[in-house]
Point group: D3
Chain length 136, copies 6
């Protein structure tokens, strides 16, 4: 049960149709997943959200698309977002994440969760040395 | 101000010394950062925490060490862990994260934060299609 | 599936009945939603929780009831509380939140999620200027 | 201590200068707060972040600017974002939040935190009645 | 730097003085810690917050006071609350938490953080068997 | 719907069988709950996760097993972990948590959630006095 209602015929609205067309063209598939179907309750929010996701996740950039999906999933897990965890782990698999990489992913995410709680509890002062010069 | 006291002379305890020696050998540096100095308040907790971090983060595995540090930092940011965010971003830079990759990292983390809040609010049902076969 | 069992006949307990009667009188409806039915597993916890919610949310105060429900929903979204998100967005709608206001709400919540992650990652020092005098 | 370095002379970069000029014009003040000075480490991230904040927070919309700042602060508190909590509470005060409204804000945020934990623990099923029609 | 200003002479307000007197009497000490000094910015919020903390934490109940302080600290760590983590770990120590118990506490909190991230990522279905009868 | 697939015949893998045998022997029951059935997707992750949970939760230590389960549940609630909340509240009941203790647990967790939000919002400075000597 969602908190908003997905429009029954979203593409009757030309702004929604334009976004859905762009999703299909960008991804090369006819499948429109639920987040976009529900965001169509407000075409403006749909447009800005898709524009950002397209720009950040579907445009070539410094990081590999598979790595970007894994980073997205890592944040989503820590923020407890059920939908985002499913969608971005599925996207990481679609971009080539192997079973061994997925197990590694969970190992890192689990260890981070452990030391995050330890350090949020211990409140250890940050080392000055972490202010190291950035390599380029 | 931490919630526990770091021992003044931690390596007087042979169990602590053994861990610190292994940290130095594994990392090829004499620098022992604060989390280990404070965890020395309980040698058992120090041993198991270092054993896990060494196994997960300092042992060759399916994912690149740089990517693992970025994933660790992403979870730490979402969990609001100040120390972990600093230490793992520094580690990612030490393992070769470029300025362009770091900017990309923040773009992905920011977009994830945005849609995590949108989806935690909209409570959109998860698509059955996400249960796709895993590529290996 | 809940972690506690809702009593089958909660109003058999006079303390529970008194709270349910007050909920019905305060809200002007016979509908008792699930949180109260389950909290009835412990009448003391039911009494103090309802007393607080009634005092904070159902008593005239400086902020508009609609705005209070939206603030409640915003915190609930960030804390990943499914039930609270549903109940307080429903309450905001019942207190007059329009579709345009709801879309605006999601825009603000999404942008906050984005910059929360950016700033939790960047760890930018707080400006001294934010310690501005409060207007009254 | 931040995780990135704020450029010493940010407006030497014309893209940064254009954003800073727009911040000054939009807000009618010469004050540029730290988040923008640090985001200048990557002009692209600075541009997209400011464009979003300007569009969502500094453009007239269905909700009152003061209410939007309070919603932003509420999410920031729950996400543990120190900088964002300071900046958006300051902005809410600048947009007219009174002392009484601020106290009310904290009352609502505190009560939400309480029932968020109770409901995340009790895992009460969501009432079907919350799927009520939206008023417009 | 706090987001509100602690009154310079809080006990000039009789409502604040009454709360401070009760804190001193309940705890048997003249020390008033900062949370109460800052909450004095709004006497009503001070009164209700202290009344709740006194009722829940300083009144004999089913759980041992030391255990209650440790539970409070555990939630505070996961919610990233710096002040609460410090104050409730200090309170647990004052109520007799030994060094061995404190190390055990951190071990449990760390393991919980690890499996919380794993399970938030794996999204494993809850076993029907957990709906076991409660022992009394 | 989980994000990984639980093996249909997990004990066909001798590493998984060894872990399941140890779970049964340690707990004195034939019941293997879902988290272990799903973690069997990666025997290495299954082994290290069970080894940690066994060491921390199923080995006699300074804290009572019931208290450890309650602490685990408290962290899980704040991290929004549905599965962990169910499993560790069930374990606490199995280790003797009474109905009165459970109600007390929820009272403490709720109050912590409330003051966590208040203090994350007020950003009150930590008292130097909290750095008290630890009792042993």
């Amino acid at each position: 049960m969602a908190t908003v209602t997905a429009p029954a015929d979203p593409e009757a609205d030309p702004r929604v149709k334009a976004v859905f067309d762009d999703i299909r063209a960008t991804r090369g598939t006819d499948f429109i997943n639920n987040v976009w179907r529900y965001l169509a309750f407000d075409p403006g929010l749909l447009e800005t959200t898709w524009a950002e996701v397209k720009s950040v996740m579907a445009t070539p950039s410094a990081l590999d698309p598979k790595v970007k999906e894994m980073l997205y999933a890592a944040v989503s897990i820590a923020n407890g977002c059920d939908y985002c965890t499913h969608s971005h782990l599925a996207a990481a698999r679609a971009r080539g994440m192997s079973a061994a990489e997925q197990a590694d992913f969970f190992r890192v995410v689990g260890s981070a969760g452990k030391t995050n709680m330890l350090l949020n509890g211990l409140r250890v002062p940050v080392d000055a040395a972490f202010e190291m010069a950035q390599e380029d």
